[in-house]
């Protein structure tokens, strides 16, 4: 197959049921392979950006800030400061003479203008090379302005997007650990949600489910969160982790440092939403909450299943390809597609872990292609080869799917409708239907002009 011409890539791909059933993941992308991955800075920025009242200052050349200005659909119930993209806009002379002075002045300017409680300073590739001392500058500025200014070590070349997630978690941990006053005792039936970014109101949907059954959502990291809320992280009695790829590290640390146990959950698809709610109820062990959750599940299912069944009837037997950022999403999507009568025949992620690929391998049918850090040529080949009717992916993959005459689902951070919980499952079914059953596919396959 032409797309697999790059020999090294073979280690990162396998077909279930054919000899090898493991793959290589979490390695550097191969030069020239047209990886879909972004960089360390990107990983850090996307995790921290939803913190609404923080200044997000990129110390680097302008591009890094341009390409990430308000690109994600995280919603806020309060401040809007996070929707700006601030940059020290380093130029040639700064590269030569160093950017430390400029960074100090940039922080001074922004703090004077916006009075934020918190500033994140992200390092970029060239800052890593020219060696500006972010730590020292942030410390000095922090003392001067009497607010928290946290450096994020996110030079693009020090790893892949996962390294950026780690850098973001380190930043959050610093924020949480720096407590001027004694931490109040843990509150019962109160939890933190880790790894949800309030895209299209998803945090709010999850929050409403929890509140309905008597659980208090303390803080979400980081969807619609604020400085004050993040400080209160330690008072929760349980952490629930959705996007594990980005947040499992923080969950582990919070367990170590504050004795907060964590659960891995996912609110994508009906099956996983129900399982997650029950898992939470069981972990809290409160009889009333367990009852309430069962009631909520019953009530929501009564509304949702008829909608799902309506679409399932039209979608039964279709085949899906999935290429998403993190492992949890891929796993949930396999189950969610089954709810619609669709089998996943190709599945991969940018930053999935070995354990997540194991779960994926267990879930899918024989013959399904599984890959890590793929590229457009491979996607093209496998979509054609496996006869996929639709692709789930990011913005860059959409035009490829369309050129191949394949339907497409936007499961990216820029989407404008929620895909979590029961309402998200309905939205998802509608979206799948709107793209798979569109009349345009008929138009491209029939007719033509007569000579």
């Amino acid at each position: 197959m032409q797309g697999l011409a790059i020999q090294e890539r073979k280690e990162s791909i396998f077909t279930k049921g054919e000899q090898r059933n493991t793959l290589t993941c979490d390695t550097d992308s191969i030069s020239g392979s047209v990886s879909q991955r972004a960089c360390v800075y990107c990983g850090a920025r996307v995790v921290l950006n939803p913190i609404t009242d923080a200044i997000h200052l990129v110390h680097g050349p302008i591009g890094c800030a341009s390409y990430t200005w308000d690109i994600r659909g995280s919603l806020s119930s309060g401040e809007e400061l996070y929707r700006n993209s601030f940059s020290t806009d380093l130029r040639e002379q700064d590269i030569i003479f160093g950017g430390e002075k400029k960074l100090t002045q940039a922080i001074d300017d922004l703090v004077t203008k916006y009075h934020p409680p918190l500033v994140f300073v992200y390092s970029t590739c060239i800052v890593g090379v020219i060696g500006d001392d972010l730590e020292a500058i942030c410390k000095a500025a922090s003392l001067k302005h009497q607010i928290e200014i946290i450096p994020i070590e996110s030079s693009g070349f020090i790893g892949n997007k996962s390294a950026g997630y780690r850098a973001a978690c380190e930043g959050l941990l610093r924020l949480i650990k720096n407590q001027p006053n004694p931490i109040p005792p843990k509150e019962k039936n109160t939890l933190n949600l880790l790894g949800d970014f309030n895209l299209a109101a998803e945090t709010w949907i999850i929050k409403s489910y929890l509140e309905r059954v008597g659980i208090k959502l303390n803080v979400t990291l980081t969807g619609d969160s604020s400085y004050e809320q993040i400080k209160k992280t330690p008072i929760a009695s349980l952490n629930i982790v959705q996007c594990a790829g980005s947040m499992i590290y923080l969950a582990e640390k919070l367990k170590e440092e504050y004795d907060i146990p964590y659960l891995r959950i996912s609110f994508i698809g009906i099956e996983d939403t129900i399982a997650s709610l029950r898992k939470i109820a069981a972990a809290l062990g409160d009889e009333q909450i367990i009852k309430n959750i069962e009631k909520l599940i019953r009530k929501e299912q009564e509304k949702t299943w008829p909608v799902i069944d309506y679409y399932k009837h039209k979608l039964q037997g279709k085949k899906a390809a999935v290429y998403v950022g993190g492992g949890f999403k891929a796993i949930s999507l396999i189950k969610q597609f089954r709810e619609l009568g669709i089998e996943v025949v190709i599945v991969g992620t940018q930053t999935g872990s070995q354990a997540e690929y194991q779960t994926i391998g267990d879930l899918v049918q024989q013959g399904t292609v599984i890959f890590d850090d793929t590229n457009p040529a491979e996607l093209e080949n496998f979509i054609i080869d496996k006869g996929a009717d639709l692709l789930v992916g990011g913005v860059k993959d959409r035009p490829l799917a369309y050129k191949l005459g394949t339907a497409f689902i936007d499961h990216n951070h820029d989407r404008k409708h929620a895909l979590c919980g029961f309402v998200g499952a309905e939205n998802f079914a509608k979206e799948v239907y709107s793209t798979v059953c569109s009349p345009v596919w008929k138009a491209i396959r029939t007719g033509g002009m007569t000579e």
Binding site: S31, C125, F157, G159
Partner: protein
């Protein structure tokens, strides 16, 4: 008239521009059979692919050398060679463009030498690899675009026989604009080499089979022969000579250079047509005269509406210049004029265009959206003209936006908006007028009620 300038500042708040390699990618996408390799860390290629594919709704394959820590410390030559090997294997391109990034430039990578050694090493003498340094910190996408075009010509042009063709070098305009320029040239029976030509490669028709490298683009052998053309028309007035492809052809091969504005608006389109006539002696076809007449007719039809317009115009220098001219011709007053590029020429050119303006205006060079918004606030600006990032002005200040330039990522079809030539100018003007009307009528009844009824004592 007053002018405001923004210069070196400590912090950019909401950028009005992107960076050099993005422009380099766009330039290379207009060359037949080309593939691009970005020398740097993985993120740059991903961000730019995303930005470009959102605008064009086309797959944008750009490879990266994916430099890691080791490559950064010890040099990225191994990654560089492997990257070239892999894209030749998977894409089988006829030409490869290699661009640098901030990282590659900061660690001092000499891509020109590495490309030469690669060719020797792999024994592929004659295979064109264009290397263009495009450090992100040294300029915007506009500078990256032109400097890469210049490098492409420098790499491909050869001493050749003089011929009757003319070179037409365009800034980053829409694919519909490219097709319109080709149509005008054909209607005047002029044989031209259009550089770059991404009208097919970035706006490919749906076909039954997918091509990884889409057909179309300026042919390598045509670029090689640009040195023999009878003249170059370069639709770029604001760029420096050192990055001008036309200036290189003039210096190196003595090809006469006509630097003209982008043919948007009556005056600028007249300049284009008259320049073509002057160089080639071609007759102006009747159809084109009719199109000009139709533009005049349309300008008269909408002139009173347009006179209500007070505009903020922003984007790449050539886009800004052309939109200012169109506005001035039609009674729309450009009050805030801004670009993220650092260009000294733009101001002088704008003074000419704005000579007849009776009111104060602000020219902002090397600026950002926070400054643009500041100038628009309570200033009477009621229309913005520029790329999609201007949606910020709509959201924050309620100023409607006519999308023009790059990127247009929040609307469908931004890549095929027609704005050049007499026909395109009218279409562009109509978009502006209708936005003004829309804005007026949406508030008309409530405004009148509030102003004259509710305030009665």
């Amino acid at each position: 008239m007053k002018k405001d300038k923004t210069g070196y500042r400590n912090v950019s708040e909401n950028p009005c521009n992107m960076c050099m390699p993005l422009g380099g990618i766009l330039a290379l996408k207009g060359i037949e059979g080309s593939m691009v390799l970005l020398h740097g860390s993985q993120g740059c290629a991903t961000y730019m692919r995303r930005t470009i594919s959102e605008h064009y709704n086309e797959p944008i394959d750009v490879a990266s050398t994916s430099l890691n820590e080791k490559g950064t410390v010890f040099g990225g030559e191994d990654n560089f060679k492997k990257g070239l090997d892999n894209i030749r294997l998977v894409y089988q391109p006829e030409i490869i463009g290699v661009l640098t990034t901030c990282l590659a430039e900061t660690i001092g990578e000499d891509i020109e030498r590495m490309a030469k050694e690669y060719i020797k090493d792999r024994e592929i003498e004659g295979f064109p690899i264009i290397s263009a340094p495009t450090p992100g910190y040294a300029g915007t996408q506009a500078e990256g675009y032109f400097s890469t075009l210049r490098k492409i010509i420098m790499g491909l042009a050869k001493e050749t026989k003089k011929n009757k063709k003319i070179n037409v070098i365009v800034p980053h305009i829409s694919t519909a604009d490219l097709r319109e320029i080709k149509r005008i040239l054909a209607s005047m029976d002029i044989e031209a080499i259009l550089l770059p030509d991404y009208s097919d490669t970035l706006d490919a028709p749906y076909t039954k089979t997918y091509e990884r490298i889409v057909s179309g683009g300026t042919k390598v052998q045509d670029i090689a022969s640009m040195s023999g053309s009878q003249a170059t028309i370069e639709m770029a007035e604001a760029i420096d000579d050192v990055i001008s492809p036309g200036a290189f052809l003039k210096q190196e091969y003595g090809v006469p250079l006509y630097r003209i504005p982008l043919p948007v608006g009556l005056k600028n389109t007249d300049i284009f047509i008259n320049t073509l006539k002057q160089i080639t002696g071609s007759v102006i076809p009747l159809d084109l005269s009719a199109e000009r007449g139709r533009l005049l007719d349309g300008m008269i039809d909408s002139h009173k509406h347009n006179f209500q317009g007070i505009a903020a115009i922003f984007g790449e220098p050539e886009h800004v210049l052309s939109a200012v001219t169109l506005c001035m011709e039609n009674g729309i007053f450009p009050q805030v004029i801004a670009t993220g590029s650092k260009t000294h020429r733009l101001e002088d050119l704008l003074y000419e265009s704005l000579a007849e303006s009776e009111q104060d205006y602000h020219i902002m060079n090397d600026t950002d959206f926070s400054h643009i918004r500041e100038k628009c606030k309570n200033s009477g600006v009621n229309i913005a003209i520029g790329h999609s990032e201007g949606k910020y002005l709509t959201e924050k200040e309620g100023i409607p936006l006519v999308r023009y330039g790059f990127p247009i990522h929040d609307r469908i079809g931004g890549q095929r908006l027609l704005s050049v030539g007499y026909t395109g100018s009218l279409s562009f003007l109509d978009r502006i007028t209708n936005t003004l009307l829309d804005h007026k009528y949406i508030n008309y009844r409530s405004t009148m009620l509030q102003k004259y009824y509710d305030t009665r004592s």
